[in-house]
């Protein structure tokens, strides 16, 4: 899954969580740029992203994200380690 695909899929999750069909995000988007993205909603967002991509984040990964770009990287690396596991099996 390349970054554009991930971003696109993330956009669907963001629009759903923040309930805004017009919401636009890019790699540079920070929590301050999105209305309602507070620490509690952040947790909902993470849980929804996990669900959408079928991955799990750790507590420290969730806490350290600075922007959407980092979230894309995180998803990418979790997907990679997931498929790695798949090959190992």
């Amino acid at each position: 899954m390349n970054r554009d695909v991930i971003l696109n899929k993330l956009l669907t999750v963001f629009r759903d969580v923040f309930e805004d069909d017009e919401l636009k995000i890019s790699a540079a988007t920070k929590s301050a740029d999105v209305e309602g993205w507070d620490s509690l909603r952040h947790v909902s967002l993470m849980l929804n992203v996990e669900q959408a991509f079928g991955v799990k984040f750790t507590s420290s990964q969730v806490a350290s994200l600075k922007n959407v770009g980092e979230l894309i990287e995180l998803v990418e690396s979790r997907l990679a380690s997931k498929s790695g596991e798949g090959r190992a099996r």
Binding site: D16, E19, D21, L40, L47, N48
Partner: protein, 770 residues
């Protein structure tokens, strides 16, 4: 609605019989078609006028029609327009089986179940193309061979995503009210995931803020983060047609938040206190006993502030454990173990809680769902909120039930269908001894459901039957079949007729003298449920599963008959309502009302409210809606404080007659009006049970109050009528009792007064018990 006969359908066993009958009728055969869904060949007669459709059912349910012998199955009526036929039928309470007409080639069709036509399956037909010589018509899509409607008709159900999309579209068009109603419907029907419920909560909070509606103000304070729970609470309440706004406090800062709330002067109707176990279970805090005492003392301080200084109603959530922890499951449940500590703590809380408060048993709630699902350790460490999304939504439901019980009141009547609800099968076909109860798996499930219902009646819930059946057929199983746990005497009302169920329920409401919002409807038939939802929105409609083994669970899920406490009077209630129904029959045989009332030999027992009466008094304050002049929902502490004053008067009235003992039926609370030149008694509260209305008990109450007022040296009584949606019944009570109107305004209603001195006692047929 004008129609013409389009065709009649006959189910036959084989093609030979088709030719036989066609020859007998002198009709030519025309086109034929195999309909896959029904595994049936359909052969139409040709020629002018109404035709005959022969259905050769090879397998499937049509082949079982009339025990496999076939015969006349349905008639089809052609109407100019199916849509207007639908509207016209709906006015008569008759639903069409399909939500949208079925496209059957040159015609569109829809069906009426035989329950509405006393045994005839009717197909409505709208010609959309010129009629061919031999129309091809599918056999009835949902017409089963029994007299009931068939189930599973939930085509209006939309996905969660669709629902939210639609809500957003409505809002963007400025139709916020419609969006909110759409979401309410989705919550009410249980269509949403826990995440969806939380989302509805956010939507509705915003909507209520924007629309500046009057809301029930709820303060939620926890030893953990409460935001998700409180958002779900808004959604649950909205599903129950109640506007709730929540305010959350800082995490684990309960007492300080409470004091701040007092200082801010902001009014809260309800305070929810949500403990979490980190302090109770922390290591190194001494032995069990001391920990418990300390923790209980903490909550007692909180209760004091909530009930006395804030005059708010209290919902106290209990403690819970997630896992046995390092003790292991064997030791955790023994003294000093965490599970033991939590259970002891809950017992202490329950025992010492102010009686008018509601206790949400978290240990029960999480156990029912399963702790592994109810809690989510990641969320606890990420946000100090231990509940998973399903757990938070479930807890919010429990809290909402508590608020509903103490603020809005109880549901009182459970209306039940008979066939395939209380037993398996259709009594009109099987006879009273043939209904499925016990013995088979499904029969055992129906029996267990009946036993559950029987226990509900001893909890003060009234059972009623609304069935589309011949009255004799419907009653017979209860009279003749000993396998049925329920007997006719368990029902406060029994409506078996062919009237629409909405009509039957309205009739019950009049007979039982209860508002429609006291009714809960349980029927296995989705069409009937939809009919009640649309015609009587006040009535709660339970989503009944297809599987009878899950009936009890489905009924319990709504917690409709949850109560603060069971009083002895609750148990007597069924008996009393039944007595009232009998009395109404007697009533017809008396020449005048007075004669009738005199024949009742009513005795009234007036007492000053004491501690033993307080729980029942507070219960009545909480739930009486109709005969309630001021609708002040005082809690126990407030009443006790009011009555502690030597000038106050608090009376209870108990009524008995030759039919029944009604127990405590009226409460009167009076306080001295401040700053007047003569002593004036202000009637703070006057409420009475509707069961004794119109029997001169009102006059008896007033006389009793007058006597008490004279004894305390009062010269005048001042009364007040504060109108609500439900108490129009007593709008002119004081006028009728000889009071003068002194003030009227829209806020405080009407104020009345009457001198004690010039008051001749009002005429009453209630004798004072001495």
């Amino acid at each position: 609605m004008k129609g013409v006969l389009h065709h009649a359908s006959i189910i036959v066993p084989d093609e030979e019989r088709v030719h036989e009958l066609a020859e007998l009728f002198g009709l030519d055969l025309g086109r034929r078609k195999f309909v896959q869904e029904y595994e049936a060949d359909c052969i139409f007669t040709a020629g002018r006028g109404a035709g005959i459709e022969f259905i050769i059912a090879k397998a499937g349910k049509l082949s079982k029609f009339n025990k496999g012998m076939g015969g006349l199955h349905h008639i089809a009526i052609a109407v100019p327009d199916l849509e207007s036929a639908k509207v016209e039928l709906a006015k008569k309470g008759i639903p069409l089986l399909e939500t949208a007409p079925v496209d059957a080639g040159p015609i569109h069709i829809n069906f009426v179940a035989p329950a509405y036509t006393r045994g005839v399956i009717v197909e409505y037909v709208q010609q959309v193309e010129p009629r061919p010589e031999s129309p091809e018509i599918q056999p009835p899509v949902s017409a089963s061979t029994d007299t009931g409607l068939t189930g599973g008709n939930d085509t209006s159900r939309r996905s969660e995503q669709q629902i939210f999309k639609e809500a957003r579209t409505l809002r963007s068009r400025g139709q916020a009210d419609q969006a909110a109603l759409l979401l309410r419907d989705a919550v009410r029907r249980g269509w949403l995931s826990p995440e969806g419920v939380e989302k509805v909560g956010r939507h509705v909070s915003g909507y209520l803020k924007d629309s500046a509606s009057k809301c029930l103000e709820v303060l939620v304070l926890g030893q953990c983060t409460t935001n998700w729970v409180s958002t779900c609470l808004v959604a649950s309440a909205w599903g129950g047609a109640t506007a709730v706004q929540t305010t959350d406090g800082q995490y684990d800062n309960v007492l300080q938040e409470l004091i701040a709330a007092v200082d801010s002067g902001r009014r809260y109707d309800v305070v929810v206190l949500l403990p979490w176990n980190q302090r109770l279970l922390a290591s190194g805090r001494g032995e069990e006993r001391a920990r418990l005492d300390e923790e209980v003392a903490f909550w007692q301080r909180a209760w004091q502030i909530v009930t006395v200084r804030m005059s708010a109603r209290l919902i106290q959530v209990g403690y819970d454990w997630i896992s046995p922890g390092p003790f292991g499951h064997h030791l955790a449940g023994q003294a000093e173990g965490p599970v033991h500590l939590v259970r002891q703590m809950n017992e202490r809380l329950r025992g010492e809680l102010p009686p008018s408060a509601f206790f949400v048993d978290l240990e029960q709630a999480s156990g029912l769902m399963g702790r592994e699902r109810f809690y989510d350790s990641r969320r606890y460490f990420w946000t100090k909120q231990p509940f998973s999304e399903p757990g938070a939504a479930r807890l919010a439901e429990y809290i909402w039930v508590g608020i509903r019980v103490i603020i809005i009141g109880l549901k009182k009547v459970l209306v039940l269908d008979l066939d395939n609800t209380l037993w398996g099968g259709v009594v009109g076909e099987t006879g009273p001894m043939g209904v499925e109860i016990g013995e088979t798996a499904a029969g055992e499930a129906f029996k267990a459901f009946q036993e559950y219902l029987k226990q509900l009646t001893s909890r003060g819930c009234l059972l009623a039957v609304s069935s589309k059946n011949n009255p004799e057929d419907a009653r017979e199983p209860f009279e003749k079949n000993p396998a049925l746990p329920l007997k006719l005497g368990d029902f406060a009302a029994f409506e078996a007729s062919w009237d629409p169920k909405s009509v039957a329920i309205q009739r019950m409401a009049r007979t039982l003298q209860l508002g429609l919002d006291s009714f809960v409807f349980f029927d296995d038939n989705p069409a009937e449920r939809e009919h009640i939802r649309q015609t009587l929105p006040e009535v709660v409609v339970v989503e009944v599963p297809e599987e009878p083994a899950q009936y009890v669970q489905a009924l319990e899920a709504g917690q409709w008959f949850e109560a603060v406490g069971i009083t002895a009077e609750d148990r007597e209630r069924t008996e009393q309502y039944r007595a009232e129904a009998q009395r109404r029959e007697v009533q017809n045989s008396f020449a005048t009302m007075e004669e009738y009332l005199a024949s009742l030999n009513m005795l009234g027992d007036v007492r000053t409210i004491d501690d033993a009466d307080l729980p029942r008094v507070v219960q009545l304050l909480g739930k009486t809606n109709q005969f309630n002049l001021t609708t002040r929902r005082h809690g126990l502490e407030a009443v006790r404080e009011m009555l502690a004053h030597p000038r106050s008067i608090g009376l209870t009235v108990r009524i008995a007659d030759r039919f029944a003992d009604y127990g405590l039926v009226a409460v009167l609370l009076g306080v001295e009006a401040p700053g007047r030149d003569v002593p004036i008694l202000l009637v703070d509260t006057w409420l009475m049970s509707c069961r004794v209305i119109g029997r001169t008990v009102e006059e008896f109450c007033l006389n009793s109050l007058m006597a008490a007022a004279v004894a305390k040296g009062y010269q005048r009584i001042e009364g007040q009528y504060i109108p609500t949606k439900k108490n129009a019944l007593v709008a002119e009570l004081y006028d009728r009792l000889g009071f003068k109107r002194t003030k009227e305004d829209s806020e405080s209603g009407v104020t009345y007064e009457r001198d004690v001195s010039d008051a001749a006692p009002s005429s009453t047929l209630v004798a004072r018990r001495t």
